[in-house]
Symmetry: none
Subunit: 402 residues, 2 copies
């Protein structure tokens, strides 16, 4: 699909705004979903004259993580481009992951006489974990030819980048997790599953030894378990694929990180949705494509807080007219996946979508919700088709074939 | 898909009529599309008891040309079988394009001292262009081992077939356009991009020289720019693929040409829709499958004439009972793509479709329109699925698997 689209690209001065309400889709409580319960007069009104439908990020029944959810929104086949756990963790902690890096997620653990006593080091407080991580960074900056970069996370979690002088060959990240998965067992050694991974495995082995040496005085966090060895997938950029200069407006680092994978600008934006919209308005002349990410809708869904998720949707709706007043050529509101509060997590349900442009039928949905979107002109469609639709509505795709 | 279908084909005496209202799909003006505005009591009535839906010729957001639009209606994957610009132009001018031919579209141009002064020779009148083309045909009939066949087009346009003694190898048409795209530059030479194209490039080089010699006395049209070198794609015929004897009833040459690609009979039918229906009635015993093409709906859409497109749809509807009275086993009304008058051109929007047969649910749509079809039992579906649906409803497909 993307190759087909790439051959049809034409550029113009149109603006496309993609608003992602993270985890938007939901399921009913007392007969109504979060989106049906929330009072959203502005989105309901726009939905009435928009092309609506539901997008399916991976496939029927498949629950997407944030990586596949966003890659498919950006038009990249999430089965073809998979983002490793280490990379996602590092992006989520705001690290600048590069093509030369091996990323891994790590746990502090407690070890005694070579046996893992606690795989999470007693879930040490985040503040203590941060200090230990700083100590590691002071002591360990290079192993063999790899720079070592640390980022502290929540509680016992941290991320590491091994930055090599040049991009590594395919398969260089084929290294097992060292977490034995059960207490009372020795940790595993990092072993290269292919010759391409041997260089990384050697660094990983020394890394474990050096970390153990630095942490030997710690009561709980005296060891590191390594997981999710991975490299950045190589993606064509939005500019290359679509001819679009694009910016990600997101306050959570992971989403900027995902956008950076496809070459979007990723300015630091602090605050909430109002600050994101302020950024959009202030920089509306500078880009063709705006990805505006609203995190909190998902967070309340993950917590199982139905009313809280409704409130976050309502908060966005109240601010929505500020985006409408920019009058973008194409405006899309959707989510990256569903997060029904009753499930306290991501789900496989297709995600309600609204596309506003002059070139739609409209008139098929009474408002913006999962059930109304089933009546819309877009039907239920694979998420990767959303970008071609946005480009077509923006007049940025030529005709295919004579 | 076609291979699967081919293995399940069984023959019987059923009749399938496929009516293509070219460019049928539209977009609203004052809240209603062309099809919603037009008074179409007969199609509305049939839609109420038919299987309805919207077909998607290539993919979401992709605007199909007439070639991909028709190939997908005929059940051929338009990404797999692409029809070159030269072939489409030659078919459109009524030329008998064969498997041994290289087809190209040409422009008369004005050249002076090796520099293109006018890429369209001042858009010379069609009548004058016709005479010049006849002069060329008299003077040039063979170059090396290739027969040369000319067909005059509108204004400065004409088409050429280079007919070789035997089919050429793949890649034989990999030759650049010679149009420099800007005035004030010398024309490009035709260069073979692969060894397979060298034989054709040699003919093309001599062709340009011979044309220049014949035209050297012309004031404006003293040169030819060549574009769209292409060969006929090799398609299985309707008989081979579906076991159907098929006929194309079309008054515009291009559509008969496209039908000829898949082995349909292509009688010359002159006049309008009434004459096409007369032909259908008079030859109803002779074929299994009837492709009846109504061009003018698209033409008015392309002109941006909303009311005119509505009138053409109404004209067809008034004649439609004559087709109904034949009581075909399967009757389909659809378009090859959308041509919303507000867009003055083809568009990516899925195309309303009605399939009448004894084996449908029906009862889902109040009439025949884009929006009513979104409620239909066929949903939004890839166009290549229409032929299997037609065959199934005609009792021409066996069960798959035990």
């Amino acid at each position: 699909m993307q190759k087909l689209v790439r051959n049809l690209i034409q550029t113009n001065s149109t603006k496309i705004v993609l608003v992602v309400l993270d985890g938007l889709g939901g399921l009913p409580v007392n007969g109504k979903t979060e989106l049906e319960t929330a009072k959203t007069p502005y989105m309901d009104s726009v939905a009435q004259s928009s092309a609506c439908g539901l997008h399916l990020p991976v496939a029927y029944g498949i629950t997407p993580g944030s990586g596949p959810g966003h890659l498919s929104l950006f038009g990249y086949n999430p089965l073809e481009y998979q983002i490793g756990r280490g990379v996602l963790e590092a992006l989520g902690l705001g690290m600048d992951v590069r093509r030369t890096d091996i990323a891994l997620r790590c746990n502090y653990a407690t070890i005694d006489k070579g046996i893992v006593q606690d795989r999470r080091a007693g879930r040490i407080p985040t503040e203590q974990s941060r200090k230990i991580t700083e100590k590691l960074q002071s002591a360990i900056t290079k192993i063999n030819d790899a720079e070592i970069l640390f980022a502290p996370g929540m509680e016992h979690r941290f991320a590491v980048l091994m930055r090599f002088p040049e991009p590594l060959p395919p398969g260089a990240d084929s290294i097992n997790d060292t977490d034995p998965q059960k207490e009372g067992k020795p940790p595993l050694q990092p072993v290269a599953a292919s010759p391409a991974a041997e260089r990384v495995a050697r660094v990983a082995g020394k890394f474990i030894a050096e970390v153990s040496e630095v942490l030997k005085g710690e009561e709980k966090a005296n060891y590191a378990l390594l997981r999710g060895f991975s490299v950045m997938p190589h993606l064509t950029t939005f500019k290359e694929a679509y001819g679009l200069t694009a910016v990600a407006i997101a306050t959570y680092p992971m989403y900027g990180g995902l956008a950076k994978l496809v070459g979007m600008a990723t300015p630091v934006v602090s605050g909430g949705v109002q600050e994101e919209i302020d950024y959009l308005k202030a920089n509306y002349d500078k880009y063709d494509f705006f990805f505006l990410h609203v995190k909190k809708v998902d967070s309340y869904g993950e917590d199982g807080d139905f009313a809280g998720k409704c409130r976050r949707i309502e908060e966005f709706d109240a601010l929505f007219p500020q985006i409408l007043s920019l009058n973008p050529d194409v405006l899309i509101i959707t989510g990256d996946h569903s997060t029904p509060a009753i499930m306290k997590g991501h789900s496989w349900h297709p995600v309600p979508t609204l596309l506003k442009s002059p070139y739609v039928l409209g008139g098929l949905c009474k408002g913006f919700s999962e059930r109304e979107c089933t009546k819309g002109e877009l039907g239920i469609f694979p998420t990767v088709n959303l970008m071609p639709l946005a480009l077509a509505n923006a007049g940025r795709l030529k005709k295919f074939g004579a």
